[in-house]
């Protein structure tokens, strides 16, 4: 996998930068958070990973001859801040194979090493038993104990404090892989996972409420005191309205089950979670099928 650093930036010096990475995930939580930071901080693109090892998004053919293939974008951006610099990595797609993931992770670590990054963060979402009206918490899972300890200075929580008895988790996705991979290479790394209501993960493409929670933590970590996030707040408001409409459309029995989540201390069993997830999924599958058949006379 080849990294291409653009000419004007080949000799750029960065001060103890942090590298913040994200891929598209559930609710596009992580990628929206990194994109928002990139835009707010006016970060500049300085490098990209060539995508020979990715599956293309589309192809063009001109008069029967193969033309351009459109590959997922995997770009690096940077910005100089008051106390330290920051590098953002954004990928257009989750990797399709282990080999692609490994090669991408190696490329990111190479950039991290070349620019003397002090720490790597990956921003992601975690499907959790929370209500959509609740403010998502951000959990920290680290590649090593030191990184985990450092995270205690910020408004993040330890996942182990919230997992039910006997509940184990596979943290899927490229971000968590990068964190583990970086740790093995001796680089301090941390995954920040913002909660997303599990019953919405298959339902909405964006959950900016969770993205905002990640941005708030990163603003603290990067020590950026004067960042205007009102645009983000407006987006959260818009999507919240859509979610409320979806919620109001649920039958009372489903709403009742969802509202149990308003009481975090009560908790919800795995079975209840599974049942609720299937019930919501069934509604949306039925709704898709109804739309396809031009409407149900009985509805």
């Amino acid at each position: 996998m080849e990294i291409k650093i653009y000419k004007p930036y080949k000799n750029i010096k960065m001060r103890r930068p942090y590298l913040v990475a994200a891929w598209p995930d559930i609710g596009n939580v992580g990628i929206l958070a990194v994109d928002a930071l990139r835009i707010f901080l006016k970060a500049r693109k300085f490098a990209e990973i060539n995508s020979f090892d990715s599956y293309p998004l589309s192809a063009s053919v001109h008069h029967g001859v193969l033309g351009k293939l459109d590959f997922p974008k995997r770009n690096f951006y940077f910005q100089k801040l008051k106390s330290r610099d920051v590098i953002f990595f954004m990928s257009g797609e989750q990797p399709l194979s282990m080999e692609e993931m490994r090669e991408t992770a190696k490329a990111i670590l190479k950039v991290a090493n070349d620019f003397h990054c002090r720490k790597i963060y990956s921003l992601d979402a975690i499907s959790f038993a929370i209500h959509h009206l609740a403010t998502p918490k951000v959990f920290a899972v680290a590649g090593n104990e030191k990184s985990l300890k450092d995270s205690e200075n910020y408004n993040v929580f330890r996942l182990s404090d919230f997992l039910g008895n006997g509940e184990q988790r596979l943290i899927s996705g490229a971000g968590s892989f990068l964190t583990a991979f970086a740790a093995e290479a001796g680089i301090n790394s941390l995954s920040l996972l913002a909660e997303m209501p599990f019953y919405l993960t298959e339902v909405i493409p964006y959950y900016p409420k969770a993205s905002k929670a990640l941005v708030d933590v990163m603003v603290d970590i990067l020590n950026i005191p004067e960042l205007d996030l009102s645009w983000f707040d407006n987006l959260v408001g818009e999507i919240n309205q859509s979610i409320e409409k979806i919620y109001e459309g649920f039958p009372p029995s489903i709403k009742q089950k969802i509202d149990k989540l308003k009481n975090p201390s009560r908790g919800i069993s795995l079975k209840e979670k599974r049942d609720l997830f299937h019930a919501v999924d069934k509604i949306f599958q039925k709704s898709k099928s109804t739309q396809k058949n031009g409407g149900d006379k009985n509805e």
């Binding site: 020979f52 090892d53 599956y55 293309p56 998004l57 589309s58 192809a59 063009s60 053919v61 001109h62 008069h63 029967g64 001859v65 193969l66 293939l69 459109d70 399709l96 194979s97 282990m98 080999e99 692609e100």
Partner: protein
């Protein structure tokens, strides 16, 4: 040269392939192709060219699952065949998109092991629009395209940022970067034949390969299947006025409604199952 390429070379050499001063055409087909067109073509070539299985490749190292073929589950794999009589390689692969890495690596390792003269990638698609009489071709470069212009086997077309046939186009792109000529052969089927396939279209692809690779293929088996298919359809049309009306609509170049297509597919499938 990698260990895998060395093992390819060893296997090929053992099968009677001359590795020096010899280049080989490679025909690739995907097992999940529409109407099973590519696997039928590969199977036909494999039988009539006396080719034998060189190796099966299933070394993707991420957990995908298994592939469903009919009602049975099989491991996801690629099968490489070689005909020492005609010096041709055939690769049939389970293409599910997720294993693009394994497919790409297989192609690269083959290219490392031996000289690939030209690679043909067969894909089938459905289109409810007026079906082209020729095959559609996508070439890695203009020089390769020019060689086939005279034969008039192909109809040119354009695609703009399309996801259609992406695996085929991706492999062509890999070949293009390696300087290996490649042709994506696109055979178009009417949608109502998607489930049962079309021996007529299979024959069109085989005729092209037969001509350009000088294979001396016997195509009587296909002619028989075409005759049987035509008889079945004629029978259906005779005894089912609705089916007859739908086929007349198709002959007039009109598009079918969703219900008409569904009905025709069902009738053809039932008729095909009776074979």
């Amino acid at each position: 040269m990698s260990e895998k390429s060395n093992s390819f070379r060893a296997l090929l050499s053992k099968s009677g392939a001359t590795l020096t001063n010899q280049s080989y055409p490679l025909v690739i087909g995907f097992s999940q192709d529409v109407g099973h067109l590519a696997p039928h073509v590969i199977d036909y070539l494999q039988r009539f060219l006396n080719s034998h299985l060189l190796l099966e490749i299933s070394d993707n190292d991420n957990f995908i699952g298994a592939i469903l073929k009919g009602d049975t589950l099989e491991m996801i794999k690629s099968s490489l065949y070689f005909s020492s009589q005609y010096n041709i390689l055939l690769l049939e692969s389970d293409n599910i998109g997720d294993n693009f890495y394994e497919l790409r690596n297989t192609l690269l390792k083959l290219a490392e092991s031996i000289r690939l003269r030209e690679v043909y990638i067969i894909s089938a698609f459905t289109s409810s629009n007026n079906l082209p009489q020729k095959l559609l071709g996508i070439f890695t470069d203009f020089k390769t395209q020019k060689r086939y212009l005279k034969s008039e086997d192909f109809q040119n077309f354009d695609l703009v940022e399309s996801q259609e046939g992406l695996m085929s186009n991706y492999l062509l792109w890999v070949l293009k970067n390696k300087g290996i000529p490649g042709i994506g052969i696109w055979a178009i089927l009417p949608p109502y034949l998607e489930g049962i396939g079309d021996p007529r279209t299979e024959k069109r692809v085989l005729q092209f390969l037969n001509r350009h690779l000088e294979l001396n293929l016997e195509l009587q088996e296909l002619d028989r299947r075409i005759r049987d298919r035509d008889l079945k359809i004629a029978g259906l049309r005779t005894f089912n006025p609705e089916v007859n009306r739908i086929f007349q609509k198709i002959s007039n170049g009109n598009n079918l409604s969703e219900e008409e297509e569904k009905m025709l597919v069902e009738k053809l499938r039932k008729s095909n199952d009776k074979l």
